[in-house]
């Protein structure tokens, strides 16, 4: 048994440990604050996996999360921590809703693709803004992207008020987006829609892009070592901008997909959508690898679905899943700090990309 564990690379162990930590945290929270413990535990942990509809609901839920996570992997691989993906996601969802609701008379084959295109473009443009600021004026990209996210949050509230608001619905919700504009189901009888296939395709394409193409090599080289990319003549600015545009496009696409079947209305409740937050966390846990990001998305999605079911049942807050998620990431960072020098095959495990020493400078500085 010991030998088997030794063969598993350390980072994988750390990831599993982080996942376990998240589960432990949820477990503790439920035990502490719930009266009907057994019931609640069942609802939280078992119910999301118990039926086909629950499982397809889970997959549906993580579809937009996966787009955000994929976008994050691209920018994180490039070491430009541009979190305007949240803003891209939000604004794209908002504008797509407006577009769909106001184009009610037009045919489906025009509206749906157009909506997807709009979402993608809006997403790319929004994410490019902090990128440009970093390029031209060396403004810290994380800071400006976060401020932009707050800006878009307020802006979308304004847009909602003026264009979408359904006076009959609860506060802060838009009209319902007509069913005919939703993406078609792929598995009849379930809620699984075309968006899932899009996500799978995006995953495959992104993997090929990052690891099997010239641009992906450039992205990873620029993120891995500034000195090497300078040496070799790779243009940082060009590569970084390309990566950010791509990431923004992915996040925007995710926002569009969300509005076309996964959420029936555009809802604004003042906070950032947890889907986007989870996407970021999933990318961090996956160490910016697209394939691992799917598993991490599934895991966090599972936690969220459990929390949502529990909330419907007893009013337990859904934020507990996000809380557990952040705790797991912090735990993962702490483990990755390499403080425990366990030799594996005689060598120390290579440090992960997510928790890198300060020796190599990163962030928005370009040029």
């Amino acid at each position: 048994m010991n030998k088997k564990i030794r063969k598993i690379p350390l980072p994988v162990l750390w990831r599993v440990a982080a996942g376990l930590m998240a589960i432990v945290v949820c477990f503790l929270m439920i035990c502490l604050f719930e009266k009907q413990r057994a019931d609640s535990l069942y609802t939280f942990f078992i119910a999301p996996l118990s039926s086909v509809s629950a499982l397809t609901g889970l997959v549906s839920y993580i579809t937009p999360m996966l787009f955000v996570a994929l976008g994050c992997t691209v920018v994180f691989q490039c070491r430009r921590y541009n979190l305007a993906l949240i803003a891209s996601f939000l604004l794209s969802a908002c504008l797509v809703s407006i577009f769909l609701l106001q184009g009610d008379e037009k045919p489906v084959w025009y509206l749906v693709p157009a909506a997807l295109i709009i979402g993608t473009t809006v997403g790319a443009v929004v994410t490019a803004i902090p990128g440009l600021m970093a390029l031209r004026r060396r403004v810290n990209i994380t800071l400006s992207s976060l401020l932009l996210s707050y800006f878009v949050l307020q802006l979308s509230s304004f847009l909602l008020e003026h264009s979408l608001r359904d006076p009959n619905a609860a506060e802060g919700a838009s009209f319902e987006i007509p069913q005919r504009l939703w993406l078609p189901r792929i598995l009849p009888g379930t809620e699984l829609r075309l968006g899932v296939l899009f996500a799978a395709a995006a995953l495959g394409l992104l993997y090929l892009l990052l690891y099997r193409s010239r641009i992906g090599y450039g992205i990873r080289a620029v993120g891995a070592s500034e000195s090497m990319s300078a040496y070799v003549g790779l243009s940082w600015s060009g590569v970084a901008m390309a990566a950010q545009l791509l990431a923004g496009a992915l996040a925007g696409f995710g926002g569009a997909v969300e509005m076309m079947g996964i959420q029936t209305r555009y809802v604004w409740n003042g906070v950032f959508p947890s889907v986007a937050m989870f996407g970021i966390l999933a990318a961090l846990l996956a160490d910016s690898n697209p394939l691992r990001a799917v598993l991490c998305c599934l895991f966090y999605g599972y936690l969220h679905q459990g929390a949502a079911l529990l909330q419907a049942q007893t009013g337990f807050p859904t934020e507990v899943s996000l809380f557990a998620g952040t705790v797991s990431i912090l735990f993962y960072f702490a483990l990755c700090a390499d403080l425990i020098p366990l030799p594996i095959n005689g060598k120390r495990a290579v440090k992960s990309d997510a928790a890198v020493e300060k020796t190599e400078k990163k962030e928005g500085e370009v040029g």
Binding site: R137, R138, L148, E161
Partner: protein, 367 residues
Amino acid sequence: MAQLIELLRQMGAAVFDNGYLVRLLAVCTPLLLAAMGLVIARRSGVFFLAAEGVMTFSGMAAYFADALVCRALLAGAEQGSAEYEQLMARGARVGWMVGLLVGMIAGMLLAMLFALFLLRFKTDELLAGVVFNIFALSVSGMCLHLFDREDLLVSSAQVGALPVLSIPSLAQVPVLGGLLGSTGWLTYFSLLVPPAVFYLLNCTDFGLRLRAAEENPAALIGTGWSVQRTQLYGMLFAGGAVSLAGVAIALMPPQPVYTLQPNGAGYLAFAAVWASGGGILKSCVSVLLLGIVDACTDVWQGLSVPSGLISALLYAAALAGLWLHAHNLKRRGKVRLQMQQQIALGEEFPDRKKRWFRGGLRGKRKS
């Protein structure tokens, strides 16, 4: 058109109202405290992006402690009875003290945890900051819902606010009377903080060490403290100031309000400090400018200007500030090249001595 002019007139009237100045001070207080904490952090070389999270966390802790205490005091008393009024007054007197204490402790704990991750675990600053911020958001949402569910809290109307310094005689003063009568103690205290920070950074040995930690850690070798230790001590101060800022937001007189909506004050203060290059006076001016815009958004709420748009204006202002303050790299490079060409081709050669320090004084900092 006439409507627009009427609207503008109303907006102008609102700004020149006494209420505006009160609001301005109320808004500037936490921003100033946070900015001063961030100045200390920056001058010790720590990228304290988690300031937003620490503020959210300490504000949440302060509010909940206050509300819990008030609730506990009011338990058992009949609503509307004289006893109830008495207990409410008592709650108003005591609640804020408990809130302040608990908030400070909570904020400092989170700040120290962040310092641990940054200095000991050597986690990437940007990622750690972002994760801590999401952590704080999730915790605050979770706690609000949990406490609400158990009905442990009083309504926000009954939560004790931070005390106000009101001197009746001063209230008679013509223009500033209304202002002086309703400004909190904390605002006056916060006005003392910038000089204190100036003193700390420039006139004490401790402050010089902090600055060495930022500008050239190698200089600390003979001083007996390692770089990490110096930065940790700096973070104690920074964390304290930022926690106080969080408490100030949560328990702001005249009435504390607690919403789940993140207000991004930490990021705004961060933008103010970074745009000012870490200078104390410049940061204060930036905070004032941001405060002016923020107070406008509050004061214009009732008018027919779309609220989301005005709120968005604040973040746009912060972004614009970052852009304007940052150096235009291209132009600088051109100017430098011209100067060098003149020197190379010119008749007299400049002073032959070589400077050991290359680059601007603050050139290496994350801009």
